[in-house]
Symmetry: C2
Subunit: 517 residues, 2 copies
């Protein structure tokens, strides 16, 4: 059985005590992972003192070239990784591709950005005169922080989560310690092996922790960074850490989100926009068994459209085959862990207790699964006819293949209901009428990190709402954690320090000319 090691201060380290990981499909043991709670101060120091200076000595262009090799290495092992995702993570082939191509694609994007940013290692904003004297200037420059980036990733995207964060930090010039979620760690571990085997990363630029993060969070300092994706509960704990509270360790959090799909007033069942709406909702509910931070949880529809929408979604959902993802007919696998299964079923009860009713539940005749095994749950569509009073629908994220159709009576009410989510990652608006779309967009935008507008002219050209493009920021205010990742060059700034430089214009200019060499 595979033993998942950590990669610390330049070497692979075996765990002292281990726990077993099981297949979410068959519940057979698949790997041993560390059950230690190690002290990792030396790993932090190694990153800061060895990895940091090495990365900072490279230009964006050179770091980009490194990312290109890393991206290609993942792509070269694509088939092996998809298979591993399937056996250890319970994903379908399609789900596995989504995760693995997400990782290599984001790395390739940042590789290209590095080339574009060129032979420099700072981002310099336009200079401006500060006083009456034309010689005395101010210039805001971004330089890499001298700390380590600790990446704590979620179980649902062991590849993409790790690869995306890694690409941005390395391009910014900051060494990384990455800690994948333990439950889906086998895929992350294999990718770490592949990345390290390329030999292109400087010593100390990348370390990997399988199992507990030990004392890492508490040991972070004023130049370090902590980027977390996961539950709001864990996020609150990290944010209360002494490092964050007392040493201003910079934090980026991506947490719970009650993402919305809004069917605007004025759309009819025959419209292209309506067909895209149905297709997207079904995909967002069931892809990766609904275990996506960007999955749709709330579906807002004009009251007159309620029955039609529920009927159409139910028909689509009933056609989904659930079971062993190794079987090619299967379109949806199990949840990742027993705990996720328990939480999902309890979450449905929470929504029902708050006034939501089951509109459709999948019969769940499992394909190709040993009897009584696997962490399977039925795709479930709920309805909230009095959406304003069903509080849990807007506040409780059920992390699996479920969403609630909410009725609204006016565009203003719809905006108010969307806002009840208190901050989300993404909202998708499907509509025909330009004024309605505009009202929805401007009302909803400040509560989201991303708003996708599906209008008639792009109904057949749009991306799926759950797709995180590296060129657009990913994150959201409030419940979603208040963070921002990716977004092209924007994402680099989390890892860098902006400093206002004041002095002789010619001198400052020359400093940054020279740093381009």
């Amino acid at each position: 059985m595979i033993e998942l090691k950590s990669y610390l201060h330049g070497e692979w380290v075996s765990p002292q005590t281990t726990a077993l990981l099981v297949s979410p499909t068959t519940e057979e043991a698949i790997a041993r992972v560390s059950a230690d709670r190690p002290s990792l101060q030396t790993a932090l120091d190694f990153g800061r003192k060895v990895g940091g200076p090495a990365l900072r000595s490279l230009s964006f262009e050179q770091r980009g070239a490194m990312l290109k090799v890393l991206s290609k290495a993942i792509h070269t092992h694509r088939e092996e990784l998809i298979e591993l995702s399937l056996t250890t993570g319970g994903t379908t082939r399609s789900d596995g591709k989504f995760d693995i191509d997400g990782a290599s694609g984001t790395m390739a994007y940042y590789a290209a950005l590095g080339t574009k940013m060129g032979a420099t290692n700072s981002i310099v904003e336009p200079s401006e005169q500060l006083t009456q004297d034309p010689r005395f200037h101010g210039q805001h420059a971004w330089l890499p922080r001298h700390g380590v980036a600790l990446h704590v990733n979620a179980f649902n995207f062991p590849a993409w989560g790790m690869g995306g964060k890694l690409a941005v930090a390395l391009l910014a010039g900051v060494p990384v310690i990455t800690k994948p979620a333990t439950s889906t760690c086998p895929l992350a571990f294999r990718i770490a092996e592949i990345l390290i085997a390329t030999g292109v990363m400087p010593r100390g630029a990348f370390q990997f922790v399988a199992g507990s993060a030990g004392d890492l969070v508490d040991q972070l300092g004023p130049q370090d960074l902590l980027a977390f994706t996961g539950s709001a509960d864990t996020a609150a704990k990290l944010r209360s850490a002494k490092s964050v509270v007392s040493r201003s360790t910079r934090v980026n959090i991506e947490a719970d989100s009650l993402n919305s799909a809004v069917l605007a007033e004025g759309v009819s069942a025959g419209d292209d926009v309506y067909r895209t709406f149905l297709r997207d909702v079904v995909k967002e509910m069931t892809q990766k068994t609904g275990q996506k931070c960007t999955a749709t949880r709330r579906i807002f529809v004009p009251r007159a459209m309620m029955e039609q929408v529920i009927e159409d979604l139910s028909a689509e959902l009933s056609r989904i085959k659930v079971g062993n993802p190794a079987n090619e007919e299967v379109r949806m696998g199990p949840l990742a862990t027993k705990q996720q299964q328990t939480d999902f079923l309890a979450g449905l009860e929470t929504l029902k207790a708050s006034g939501a009713k089951v509109a459709f539940q999948h019969a769940l005749s499992l394909v190709d699964v040993p009897a009584g095994k696997g962490f399977f749950v039925p795709p479930t569509l709920l309805r909230a006819d009095d959406a304003g009073s069903a509080n849990a629908v807007h506040t409780h994220e059920v992390f699996g293949p479920s969403a609630t159709v909410c009725a609204y009576d006016s565009t203003d009410e719809c905006i108010a209901l969307v806002e009840r989510g208190e901050g989300g990652l993404v909202c998708t608006i499907y509509g025909e009428d330009r004024e309605v779309l505009r009202t929805l967009l401007l009302g909803i935008a400040p509560f989201h990190g991303r708003v996708l507008v599906v209008s008639a002219k792009v109904a057949d050209k749009t991306i799926q709402p759950g797709l995180v493009l590296p060129s657009c920021v990913h994150g959201g205010p409030g419940r979603a954690g208040g963070g921002e990742e990716l977004g092209g060059e924007r994402g680099l700034r989390f890892y860098m320090q902006r400093t206002a430089l004041q002095g002789d214009r010619a001198l400052l200019d020359r400093f940054f000319e020279a740093s381009k060499s």
Copy 2:
């Protein structure tokens, strides 16, 4: 005696129970301030529901016009305010001007920026194609958050602190509740009266809390903002608040800072740069009795220059007249409170216990002060010949007229010693040699929000290091709180939400064209 009221939900509110404030010069009672710990949920709601929509309906240009009136109102009352600062805050006329002109100047700067930003109310970044299809675009837009900005200000700049934060929030379109430090609240209260009397701020756009902030911090929500200037201890408490930890209330903190002045290798006592260095250090040590977040606390000089620097600084410091700021001869007044006096004297002992020695202490024959009265302290210059071992010099901020001269033996050692401050607001480098300046600048920058480089060509043109220009960011990493304020348009973004909008290019363009009307 003046009673300091709060201005909440559109009316002045008297305190139920009060405490006395005393003059820091004579210790006579000067004002009554609230000793209540009120519930201020209704004030928050009033700001969110009444102030927010009103401000958001205005364009940047219109908000700028409002700021212009507010700036002028302060300027019109300048003499009265300087006098009030002198009698209630213990500031000299010059110190009072620095604070009050800082407020009106920053407001005027943001008024002009509003005019420049024009008849729109969002900041839109360049659009970019997201997929193969030229029609499907992404656009990052910044819209004002729908919450309230709670401003918790420090005692040392009752005017500037309040005015600067207010200008940025109002221009961004976000209503403000401002809570000045209680000890120097009389000046902030009078300014609040003046601002409100202009009648130009929409109802709910500005509320003022004299005394305790009550339950405000705990009541903040996911669209609210908290901007704090003050001690690292209070900052840590605010950052642990439930609103921040669990609801992602966005926080900006400006806290302790061991700001440095670095005399680079290669400067001689006869150089212009050296004269500017002496002038700046003396000013930064004694202006506002050293009670500035940007005041110089550590002075790094090549070991060979130690005796010369100490001799020259001591000579300058000994000439400073200390006493009643109402007397025109006086160049330095008392500290603001008895507590500050106690803390300052204890702080000197902390530095001495850590290895620093007193190099110069002012004789302190007070001018025009009732015997035994007032919170006066002597300007004190310490020296650390073994700066590496004097840990407290780099970690303990003594908030008054004191600084420590630290010897260094190489440029690299100097950088390492500066870094020991673990993040600061400002570092000033005085030097002649271009390569030395460059090494210092690039080494030091990531640890600071601002670096001022005083080279030969700008030695007579530079600003004083402690001056916070509205066009440059103010804040710093680590110990300094990790925040960023001001910096022109940059400062507005704290109050706004960036959202990635995706959809039909023509449609998105039209939305933001329309919002310019």
